[in-house]
């Protein structure tokens, strides 16, 4: 499991625009870099990020090797109801990780 830092507000007022921020430990190997032996290191990146909340995907992104190592993403959503925010990262070599955070909406 890759180390992940996630910032989702624990609570919010209905209708508030909240910011979700994520940082995940991943080399994002570009596939263009030679190793010490001069061989190109095969690409190994996170290709897709998805965030779901209150019954729908509210944000998703396709990443290229131009995304920095340890990818950082920040985006917003409207607080609608109490529940779970689900975030999934998928990538090369079968990389798949899902994290959830609760949110209380009043």
């Amino acid at each position: 499991m890759a180390r992940v830092l996630i910032n989702v507000p624990r609570s919010a007022k209905r209708g508030d625009i909240i910011t979700i921020r994520t940082l995940i430990q991943h080399t994002m190997e570009t596939g263009y870099r030679p190793n010490a032996q001069g061989e190109v290191v095969p690409r190994d990146i996170i290709r897709r990020f998805t965030c779901s909340y209150d019954g729908a995907v509210i944000f998703s992104a396709e990443l290229s090797p131009a995304i920095a190592a340890n990818p950082f993403l920040s985006f917003t959503t409207v607080a609608t109801r109490s529940g779970t925010v689900t975030m999934t990262w998928e990538g090369d070599n079968g990389f798949a990780q899902t994290e959830t955070r609760p949110i209380e909406v009043t």
Binding site: S64, P65, A66, A68, P71, F72, S74, V78
Partner: protein
């Protein structure tokens, strides 16, 4: 011989459009943008691409895109894409969003191989496309390992 020369000149732009390995070009970027817009016209405006004009290390460069939009069911940003012209590949990131985002905003950290122009394009719910571009100078560190 005049005719062959002219033929060669006419062929030149087409040659530049051919995909090149491990090297994006302004033409490759334009092609990638066409892939995102489906060839629809892109108008400068409404989009603010925020990135430092002078970058001290291209490995991790903070970048934000904000699009002016009410983000309602009727009028919102569907997607934001970022392109570059001098990395090995022209595509950086494409994000899908909608009215539930509240704001049309995306922040991330990107890689820049060298000094170049970046382009952010927003796809709106009415089918229009808007953009902003930024020139970035990447300085090279004097003391690097390796």
């Amino acid at each position: 011989m005049i005719v062959p020369t002219r033929r060669l000149l006419l062929a030149a732009p087409a040659l530049l459009l051919l995909p090149r390995q491990a090297d994006a070009t302004p033409e490759a970027m334009a092609e990638a943008v066409r892939g995102f817009t489906g060839g629809a016209p892109v108008t400068p405006g409404r989009v603010a691409l925020d990135i430092s004009p002078l970058v001290e290390n291209g490995n991790t460069v903070p970048l934000s895109v904000i699009v002016e939009s009410p983000m309602t069911e009727e009028d919102h940003v569907r997607a934001i894409a970022v392109f570059n012209e001098r990395n090995p590949q022209p595509h950086v990131i494409t994000a899908q969003l909608g009215p539930r985002a509240g704001r049309a905003l995306l922040s991330t950290h990107i890689r820049l191989a060298t000094s170049q122009t970046l382009l952010a394009v927003a796809a709106l719910s009415d089918g229009s496309f808007w953009s902003d571009r930024a020139q970035v100078v990447v300085t090279l560190a004097a003391c690097i390992e390796g």
